[in-house]
Subunit: 198 residues, 2 copies
Amino acid sequence: MPDQSDDRPYHHGSLRTALLDAAERGLRAHGADRLSLRDLAREIGVSHAAPRRHFPDRQALLDALAEAGFARLDNALRSALKTADDFPGRVRAAATAYTRFATENSALLELMYTSKHRPGASRIVQAAEAPFGLMNDLIAEGQEQGALQDGPTQRIGVVLFATLQGIATLGNGNLVPPELLDGLVETAVEQFLRGARP
Amino acid sequence: MPDQSDDRPYHHGSLRTALLDAAERGLRAHGADRLSLRDLAREIGVSHAAPRRHFPDRQALLDALAEAGFARLDNALRSALKTADDFPGRVRAAATAYTRFATENSALLELMYTSKHRPGASRIVQAAEAPFGLMNDLIAEGQEQGALQDGPTQRIGVVLFATLQGIATLGNGNLVPPELLDGLVETAVEQFLRGARP
DNA sequence: GCAACAATGTTGTCAACGGAAACATACTGC
DNA sequence: GCAGTATGTTTCCGTTGACAACATTGTTGC
């Protein structure tokens, strides 16, 4: 009994995009655990097996979400970096942009950081390199200007990156009230600039 | 057809403990996602509905794991703090102990930080206060000794805590090779002690 | 134009899971 | 030695991810 009585075409046309969109909404609303392929299919109005043509299994969909997440993060950081010229200002801008992204997309962020060590996640690792490189360049910039001590750029940058990530984690876990996050980022940047100067 | 042909007693006797043990092994081996109550029951040798007497649902088991995790983390930090007397040494010891715990129990740690904002997780929040208080006390100690600037103890301490947590996250996500983690922690502690001194 | 062929969507099926109810067995206090 | 409770078993249900077989549409070579 085919209940496809409406005039919906047999082919959706952009199922993949529709799936990703719906998945991101679901991710935001209920978390990755309760993201169900069948739910998404229902919401979009296709059969329960249709998503399989675009994502061979559930994890593939989650991986695609993570990959897109890194691209969006990269964008957010890039546009934040444009808002300031001096080095401390640029660090501050990047730091607040990162934690804002991380708290506004907490479930997505978790996905981005945990889908990676699975085999075959090379696309994700590659996508992650863009925002990471951005932070690295920022540190190198500080070193050239003499605002930061010389030494392994990556090691210094990763510490800053880790601090921001940690602050976001604590915020997302409600271990730190959200209204304190901005101040925390401020403190972290200050301490970083003091602790890593020549 | 009851296949309970062996002499296994009707009552297991310590199912709850056995479940938690098996669950922790499963967590370590396959992650929280693929932790199945029925699998655990099978492994232990009880019926699939037996765990329900001890954990009303799956999440309750995960919560119990998280709670136990905080207690173990507290222990690890406590014994690490005993290994050094001077303030910088104690910070270093606590920092390496934390990241070691976090990388050796990555799936558990994730559980500890994400099971918390669920309603009715007051037991977990309470369990989390022990290790958090420990870190806070450490910072206060540094302030009393004049090694750290005065000001809101918590804010200063949280930044350090966040940094360690972030380093662990990056390590667990394979975004930083494991062999670099120790050096990263070292750098982070150094920068912290420099950046937060009076 | 049209005949393969590829791409995309549908239907039907399966095993596994979490959850729940009804029942069985063991323990405990009295 | 018995009543009440704690713990475990059986049986069932609805949902899910995965898979295979089939249907429809789009595309491409000729």
